[in-house]
Subunit: 345 residues, 2 copies
DNA sequence: CGCCGCTACTACAACGTGAGAATACAAGGT
DNA sequence: ACCTTGTATTCTCACGTTGTAGTAGCGGCG
């Protein structure tokens, strides 16, 4: 196939057609299966395709059809382990159905998110999977182009797009209940955001409140130190604030694993033993959670399933097999109990 | 798909040409600046471009020029923090020069790596940035298509491609020397691979040996437990083996941060205090290293610079501004000293 | 026997762009 | 006046694909 010093030009439909002795369009029909082709012809064409190693020229196809076979995947923070792990699953799920994925990093900036959701991020994208952070309903309605869109995560941005997300309220409630079951009573929560709480913060807080209410415990505002973002340093500094309280918490529910890992570090610096002096639980089940010291109890969404469902929804919209209003898809989760919240007292 | 109320189709060169009263090619010349255009005409065309908000159709341009503006970026393990962090930098660096990046995960499989390096992974890729793991020189020479290629990392695969990598021998030597300076004497190394060591293992081992030799210390083969891969569990099990030795090490140099984090966990499980009973250092400076308990001393490559240089090299080859033999580019590194190796004894 | 309708295929145009050849026009030299 | 030189612009075509329209062949039915 290869010529030394040169490299063979990629075979085109025309080359396949000549080899098989049919017209170009017939080859196209065989390759795409748009129109039924007689079995004998089909086999002959297929043999020619295999022999030449023909691969469709995506650019030409795109120019002709207006489709590219490429979708954008945009996260606010790609290096965050949760997003990186989810990205890998999305890439794999997309590959299984012949779609290639183009990564984007919005930094959570509403303007950047709107650009992406409008398909302006990169030219000729068929659809977008977006994990929004700063975007709101109004902004999303105002987008200049209605590209097929699937949203990941908690934010409810209306019926414009499909949305895949786990039940955050239930996840937060169950992991808090687990702490209660282990005997912890003064349970703080790290992850509230003060002037402008995100949907994540609201829902995980709601679940936490429900669990406390079910147990007949009061909600102490002192145990809700607000954070700026959801990274390790935010968790660490919130933890330090909690440890300065006159009456310290005996457990902390962190709204994601990075906050929990930061909190763990702050607790360690303060000389506290986890879980003996203080229990810590997180949310997301990033790989690191299993290797933290102590290993971290957390809420584990099924990342592979989330990716699978998101790609499937988007594909249905791209191919116009579904054109209705935004759907909500809610895969399950598990609470994974590890060292950081057991062996209490 | 369309904007409510009709939705103007994207303006084409033809539309601009009609508005400006010139030919399509003249507009093309103005837009691309390939041929000088009289100032008066230029201004008139520019005005028409601005008025219509014309943007070139990238797909058509790509079909015509044979370029796609897309490069592939392939890592053996995308969820690994080092690769994820580096990927973000590459995506950012590529965006700055108008290139979009398509992610790939090879799993370290030589066949998959060869496919990628031959540009067969996805159609219409202009070039490839690959971090090889299993690929060897001979295989790389045999690739069927000579697509512009930049390699990341330690493996020396000959002059076929440019290569961007830090000086691993020096990095390993310096971090080992740091342990010696802190007073540690019985220093183990985790990361050697027995039947088939990777370039990474060889070079980091070489640096470790050099540092020991400089200090006049012997190399004890017992202190070199081989590992299968470079993940946390490999580090943990290697550490456990070391701790079963009659004469235990007082420090461990792990060939990457994940190994170190696994080792840290195993040490913790064994009831050892780090760094009082045992120092642990890593390599890569992943974000997690700063938040481990204790925080991890490590060798920090300049990831942003590595990404920048890799993209620049690849771009030069794609645009044929450079067509010579493979270049080697060696950005610097720093040894970042943290808790896991200080406050000794 | 001729026409219809069906299947299986082919011919042709078009998507928007850029390369190169061709043309128009102006100025200057002989 | 004519040719040369050079610059500015236009014309024509091709990139590889797919949609539309069209044709050939064939069996069935009035």
């Amino acid at each position: 196939m290869s010529v030394p010093g040169g490299g063979a030009a990629a075979p085109r439909l025309k080359d396949v057609a000549e080899l098989a002795g049919v017209s170009v369009k017939t080859v196209s029909n065989v390759v795409n299966g748009t129109v039924p082709v007689a079995e004998a012809t089909r086999a002959r064409v297929q043999r020619a395709v295999d022999e030449l190693g023909y691969q469709p020229n995506v650019t030409a196809r795109r120019l002709r059809t207006g489709r590219s076979g490429v979708i954008a995947l945009a996260f606010p923070e790609l290096p965050s382990p949760y997003f990186a792990e989810l990205a890998v699953e999305v890439i794999a799920a997309a590959r299984r159905v012949g779609i290639t994925v183009l990564m984007d990093d919005t930094g959570g900036d509403p303007a950047a998110e709107l650009r992406i959701a409008s398909g302006l991020g990169d030219p000729m994208i068929d659809g977008v999977i977006l994990s929004p952070l700063g975007l709101d309903r109004a902004a999303l309605l105002s987008r200049s182009r209605e590209i097929p869109l699937v949203l990941l995560g908690e934010a409810d941005l209306g019926p414009v797009a499909d949305r895949v997300h786990i039940d955050n309220v239930a996840g937060a409630r169950e992991v808090t209940r687990h702490l209660l079951d282990e005997g912890y009573r003064r349970i703080a929560a790290i992850g509230w955001q003060d002037p402008a709480p995100r949907a994540t913060a609201e829902q995980r807080l709601a679940g936490y409140r429900e669990a406390l209410a079910d147990a007949g415990l009061p909600l102490d505002p002192e145990l809700l130190p607000p954070v700026r973002a959801y990274f390790r340093p935010d968790g660490a500094s919130a933890m330090r604030r909690l440890l300065r309280l006159p009456e310290r918490p005996d457990a902390v529910f962190c709204f994601n694993d990075l906050l929990a890992l930061g909190a763990l570090r702050a607790a360690h610096e303060a000389g506290l033993r986890v879980p003996q002096d203080l229990a810590i639980v997180g949310f997301d089940d990033v790989e690191e959670a299993a290797y933290a010291i102590p290993s971290l109890t957390t809420v584990a969404p099924d990342k592979r399933l989330i990716a699978e469902l998101a790609v499937r929804c988007l594909e249905e919209r791209i191919e116009r097999r579904y054109t209705g209003p935004g759907r909500r898809v809610t895969p399950g989760f598990r609470v994974v109990v590890r060292e950081s919240s057991t062996l209490a007292r």
